[in-house]
């Protein structure tokens, strides 16, 4: 096991010994049936999501090795792809749950089959410790918990070993879904506490490298910057047994190499494949590779206009720009068709609460010019369009096309490419980019949740510095309101209507989250967190 390749130690020496000499690894080889090779752009930097500085790719570790009280269900889309179902909440560690009549107390019954890797049962104390940790450590976990109205440890009560309660200041439709996101994962508190120190009461140093969970997979190897390996937890009983025994997630920074590996069969699954590749890879390989994907819920690729900078404070200018975006070209050249159009809506008044929905703009340079005239800027003006180097794959062509199109109505645009590290500071924290491309997506699939983050003044993703008292009020009123509430539809329609009219953010399209995989790989579903949930994956042997 130590230095030999592990397949060998598993008794498939014959297949493996000739591997290096083959042109590519035969995926269908018997030995690989229960091993899944995944290629990803970025590596993980921690096994603990609550730790400060934990990056996005690390979320998937939490998803796969830890359990939560509840999880989202999975639905089948029209094209046969699988995707999570934001409307369906399923039990995980919680066997069942009840909501008090005033909606302020949630009581969970813990499944006796829920066992940590060390064999001890999952208790309400573990859950309380874990939730306390999530709200206490600050940073992103605390923010996300807050979205579910969970801010203080005294909201979490371990009634007895098998009963756990959450007290809410007011009822909210967001609490239960918020328990299904990666953040409120359940840690083996006995193990963690034994490693805690006075300086580090939440054992962040220990859990950073040594997970202590109950999930369907364990991490058996982690080479930072290179790869990590999951191994199936054979004792997991909180769902159908995962179809693969071992998953190798390999970090491959170059997109073309990732594609080549997948095409050649050296990798089974390629998460987050660029639109162009997902369009081509199926035909190129003659069906040996398939693509599964779904539009990302509550996510939009937008052109944001910063109202703090003239002339974007002028609504006519914003509308003019909305009419001057070459939507069709962008969808073709930047999204390669893998996007739902968010333009060409019919009416300035929304007819449904569906979100996202097409905005009532389309490429119409005449109208744009007229609006620009009305705004008192017939000659146009000069500005800078910034985009994120890390997302250059779609943002650069988009920016170039916008630049060219705006030139036609007299707006001279200078492009500014900002490296990933500075992007968040410039765009979201300092909010100092006059015109930029943005791609916020809300984990909780409600329009008001999107508006909460992206249209409320001062909120992180409102990089436009948009401020509208009516929106503020509408969002506050609606955020925790149940969907079935009478006022819900009215409020949401009004919000969307204002967004149509004011266009501080001009939506271009709703992106797809695509994954390419070898034909024998099944059960892939796209998730709101955009990470791989390996529990549902199966791999057929040939």
């Amino acid at each position: 096991m130590k230095r030999r390749n592990f397949l060998k130690s598993m008794g498939v020496a014959t297949g493996a010994s000739i591997l290096p000499f083959l042109k590519y690894i035969p995926v269908e080889a018997a030995g690989k049936k229960d091993t899944l090779v995944v290629v990803a752009a970025n590596g993980i930097n921690s096994l603990d999501l609550h730790r400060k500085g934990t990056n996005r790719p690390s979320y998937q570790v939490t998803v796969n090795i830890y359990d939560r009280l509840v999880r989202f269900g999975v639905k089948k889309l029209e094209d046969g792809s699988l995707a999570y179902d934001s409307t369906k909440i399923e039990p995980e560690v919680a066997e069942s749950w009840t909501v008090s009549r005033d909606g302020k107390t949630l009581t969970f019954k813990i499944n006796p089959k829920a066992k940590f890797w060390d064999g001890t049962p999952v208790t309400a104390k573990d859950i309380k410790w874990s939730f306390d940790r999530a709200v206490s450590l600050g940073g992103f976990p605390a923010v996300q918990m807050k979205a579910g109205s969970m801010t203080k440890p005294d909201q979490f009560i371990a009634v007895d070993d098998k009963t756990f309660q959450i007290k809410l200041p007011k009822p909210s439709k967001l609490t239960l879904p918020d328990l299904a996101v990666p953040i409120p994962f359940i840690i083996n508190s006995k193990v963690a506490k034994s490693k805690a120190t006075a300086k580090d009461p939440w054992a962040t140093e220990y859990l950073h490298k040594n997970p202590a969970g109950s999930g369907a997979f364990k991490i058996v190897r982690w080479d930072p910057g290179q790869q990590f390996v999951y191994e199936r937890n054979e004792d997991w009983a909180l769902g159908p047994k995962p179809g693969v025994k071992r998953v190798i997630v390999r970090e491959v920074p170059s997109a073309s190499t990732r594609r080549a590996l997948t095409e050649r069969g050296d990798a089974d699954l390629y998460m987050d494949i660029p639109a162009k590749d997902s369009k081509e890879i199926v035909t190129k390989t003659g069906g040996k590779v398939k693509v599964s994907g779904a539009p990302i819920d509550n996510c939009l690729h937008v052109l944001a206009l910063n109202l703090k900078y003239k002339p974007f404070d002028n609504i006519k200018v914003r509308q003019a720009i909305a009419y001057a975006i070459p939507y069709g070209d962008i969808l073709k050249a930047a999204a390669y068709g893998r996007g739902k159009p968010m333009f060409g809506g019919r009416d300035m008044k929304p007819t449904s609460v569906e979100w996202p929905q097409p905005f009532p703009y389309d490429t119409n340079l005449e109208k744009a010019k007229v609006l620009l005239d009305q705004a008192g800027m017939p000659g146009g003006f000069e500005t800078t369009l910034s985009y994120n180097l890390g997302l250059a794959a779609w943002q650069e062509p988009t920016a170039l096309l916008i630049q060219e199109s705006l030139k036609k109505i007299g707006i001279k645009v200078k492009l500014d490419k900002i490296p990933g590290a500075s992007w968040r500071t410039a765009a979201l924290v300092k909010k100092r980019l006059p015109m930029h491309l943005e791609n916020f997506g809300g984990w909780l699939n409600y329009p008001d949740y999107y508006f909460f983050w992206a249209y409320k003044y001062g909120h992180l993703f409102n990089s436009s510095n948009y401020k509208n008292p009516e929106i503020e009020k509408l969002v506050n009123d609606t955020l925790h309101m149940e969907v079935i509430d009478k006022k819900y539809e009215e409020n949401v329609k009004r919000m969307i209507g204002i967004a149509f009219e004011d266009v501080p953010r001009i939506p271009i399209y709703q992106p797809y989250l695509d994954a390419a995989m070898r034909a024998p790989v099944n059960g892939y579903a796209s998730w709101f967190h955009r990470q791989l949930d390996v529990r549902s994956i199966t791999k057929a042997g040939v």
Binding site: R3, R4, K52, R221, L389, A421, V429
Partner: protein, 329 residues
């Protein structure tokens, strides 16, 4: 050795200032996707970035003195650990690249020097100049495209070993050596196969300076008085070429090798990126993009130390080869 101290100090100061001047705010970057202002501030405090530069600098130098190079924010590991783990990968690549270059360039240089002005000389020169004119990233990409993607002759350009293998147990950190120590021919061949394309890419780049220097030094040696003496005494051609001319010519070539080596170590930043090589170069690029201060500083510092070590080694070799070195007044 002592003379290097000011340079190292200079490197520490410059790298510190440079990293602090990076536009990215690590606190924002590492606070996570949905972090609000408050949580960003918390991260900032936790990282010690709320202090003044001067304060941060003294803390950094103090930590360095204690052997603590800090922790990489991006990978969450201590920088020293990261570097030590990745350094053998870069060194393995660079050494073999350099080795290939030497194996090709020295004979080319000798060949050119023994026939100066002939067509052999010109072909060598064109070949070598073409090598140095190729952007490494470009060469790497096309080698991958042709030999991996189109022809399928080389293994996937994915780091040091095929994904299905576990690395050999760590002795030197050089896979091809460790696998031999472990007696595992299979892993040895696997690791070797991974090395071919990136080392060729690097080697092509190193060809020119070595060949050029070999040619020049050989020309000088061949037209020197002592070679004339050797010829006047009827020594055999091979004796003249190797013992008399080449051994003397190897001295400047050796000095050049030191330069080329440090140069390659820096240049393989791009090669490592193209070949997903888990070396310190790719580590540095990512750290730089992520404003990962400790990692960038650690990388630069380790490179400076390496640079000094390499030069020292070359000095030692020179002192062994050249009796004049070290004995002069």
């Amino acid at each position: 050795m002592l003379q290097a101290v000011p340079s190292i100090f200079g490197v520490i100061v410059i790298s510190f200032v440079l990293t602090r001047a990076l536009p990215g705010d690590p606190a924002v970057y590492f606070a996570g996707a949905m972090a609000d202002k408050e949580s960003i501030e918390q991260v900032r405090q936790a990282l010690g970035l709320d202090r003044s530069w001067v304060e941060q600098f003294f803390i950094y130098v103090g930590n360095l003195a204690q052997g603590d190079w800090g922790q990489s924010l991006k990978t969450g590991q201590p920088v020293t650990e990261e570097l030590l783990k990745r350094l053998p990968a870069s060194l393995e690549l660079t050494f073999i690249g350099l080795g290939l270059a030497v194996l090709a360039a020295v004979p080319l240089g000798i060949l050119a020097a023994t026939n100066p002005g002939s067509w052999v000389d010109h072909i060598c020169r064109l070949l070598v100049t073409a090598g140095v004119s190729l952007p490494t990233f470009f060469t790497g990409l096309f080698l991958i495209y042709i030999f991996y993607y189109l022809l399928g002759w080389s293994p996937s350009p994915l780091g040091r070993l095929n994904i299905l293998y576990l690395s050999p147990s760590h002795v030197t950190g050089f896979y091809i050596i460790d696998s031999l120590i472990a007696g595992d021919l299979e892993i040895f061949l696997g690791a070797l196969a991974q090395l071919i394309l990136p080392t060729i890419t690097l080697g092509l780049f190193a060809l020119a300076p070595i060949a050029r220097m070999t040619r020049g030094a050989m020309l000088g040696a061949l037209s020197s008085d002592y070679v004339r003496t050797a010829r006047a005494n009827g020594l055999s051609k091979s004796m003249i070429l190797l013992t008399y001319a080449f051994r003397n010519a190897s001295l400047p070539v050796l000095t050049t090798l030191g330069m080329v080596f440090s140069f390659l170590l820096g240049a393989n930043v791009l090669v490592e990126k193209v070949f997903s090589w888990p070396g310190i170069g790719s580590f540095a690029i990512e750290a730089l993009i992520a404003s990962d201060y400790a990692a960038v500083q650690g990388f630069v510092l380790s490179m400076a130390l390496l640079f000094i070590t390499v030069n020292l080694t070359i000095d030692v070799i020179l002192a062994i080869t050249d009796p004049r070195v070290g004995l002069e007044e």
